[in-house]
């Protein structure tokens, strides 16, 4: 659903780096260079960011549509 807060293997905080990573990649930076720039060195942490997909972004439009229909209760 959301970016994991910690790396599953080592426990380092990586949750705050996913958004920065996607921003750098969308600007045309190579993913490996972007990870180096963010200081993510170990491959356990690197795979957390590289392999992440934000499923919430696919679900949020439904909640927004419900809100637009005027239903106050949300989902």
């Amino acid at each position: 659903m959301l970016t994991p807060v910690r790396c599953f293997s080592c426990g380092a905080v990586i949750g705050d780096k996913y958004e920065k990573f996607t921003m750098l990649v969308s600007k045309g930076m190579e993913p490996d260079k972007a990870l180096d720039k963010l200081g993510v060195r170990r491959y356990c942490c690197r795979r957390m960011i590289l392999g992440n997909f934000e499923v919430v972004d696919k679900l949020l439009p439904y909640a927004e549509a419900v809100e637009a229909l005027g239903e106050k209760e949300g989902s």
């Binding site: 807060v5 426990g11 905080v13 958004e19 949020l60 909640a63 949300g74």
Partner: protein, 264 residues
């Protein structure tokens, strides 16, 4: 202990001290003791983390349990005054509403009610996403505990002990020098004036890839009773404090054992 005739004097050298990271070399010391320090750092040094969560209101897409779990993983700055207070409980509050449109709730919005010195180390961890009109209201209770209870309480991510590597170039004009430089994942070697040389001996991880390329030209050994202890702090405490607390806790536990043995 040391080899025969060798002076038994402990020597400590600071190899690396970066923001959050610390690496020291301990000479004339046993692996068992160095590893004990490492394990105490990982599982005994106490830190604060959210342990109980009361969900007052949650109309978001994310389930209560997932939010509670994510809150628990957010590292909290742990002031030293709480270290001796085993049962300390601090209330933190997360109150967010998406009024204008879809938005992300970050860890920065989690605020301590009782003590402003306790705060999330990173303020940019996404906790959940809210669509327009959704809201979240949470009371979270931070408690003091250690890594052996749950790894969220561990003050370090990386904590390693490895022997000090001794990298020797036997034949510095080998025709395979370019391959050796390329095959090494930690860039231990480089070519200087057409000759193979060692750039960073301590970086070696004993993967032996260079030996596979040319067994006759390079030699990798472990230095006797010399170990490199490296830790990387998550942020609850400074890396240096984590190391000192780890050593301190071993002393405390050994002292307790001593008292028990004396009472026999």
């Amino acid at each position: 202990m040391g080899e025969e005739g060798e002076e038994l004097k402990l020597a400590v050298e600071l190899l690396e001290s970066q923001k959050g990271g610390l690496s020291i070399r301990i000479d004339k010391y046993d692996l068992n003791y160095a590893n004990a320090i490492r394990r105490y750092i990982m599982s005994e040094v106490p830190t604060l983390a959210i342990e109980d969560v009361v969900v007052v209101e949650n109309s978001s897409l994310i389930y209560d349990e997932i939010i509670a779990h994510r809150l628990g993983l957010v590292p909290l700055k742990t002031p030293k005054k709480y270290l001796e207070q085993a049962g300390v409980q601090l209330m933190m509050v997360l109150d967010a509403k998406a009024e204008e449109g879809t938005r992300t709730v970050y860890s920065g919005e989690l605020v301590s009610v009782e003590d402003k010195e306790v705060y999330p180390i990173s303020t940019e961890i996404p906790l959940l996403k809210l669509a327009k009109g959704q809201s979240i209201k949470i009371e979270a209770y931070a408690r003091l505990s250690s890594g052996k209870r749950h790894s969220k309480f561990s003050p370090v991510s990386k904590a390693t002990v490895k022997p000090s590597p001794l990298v020797n170039v036997i034949n510095d004009s080998t025709d395979k020098m370019k391959e050796i430089v390329e095959v090494c994942p930690r860039n231990v070697f480089y070519v200087k004036d057409g000759k193979l040389a060692v750039a960073d001996e301590d970086a070696c991880t004993f993967c032996m890839e260079c030996i596979k390329v040319d067994p006759a030209s390079v030699e990798i050994k472990e230095k006797y009773n010399s170990y490199i202890l490296s830790i990387e702090s998550i942020g609850q405490h400074e890396a240096r404090d984590v190391l000192m607390m780890g050593i301190d806790l071993i002393q405390r536990d050994l002292g307790e054992l001593m008292e028990k043995v004396m009472a026999l």
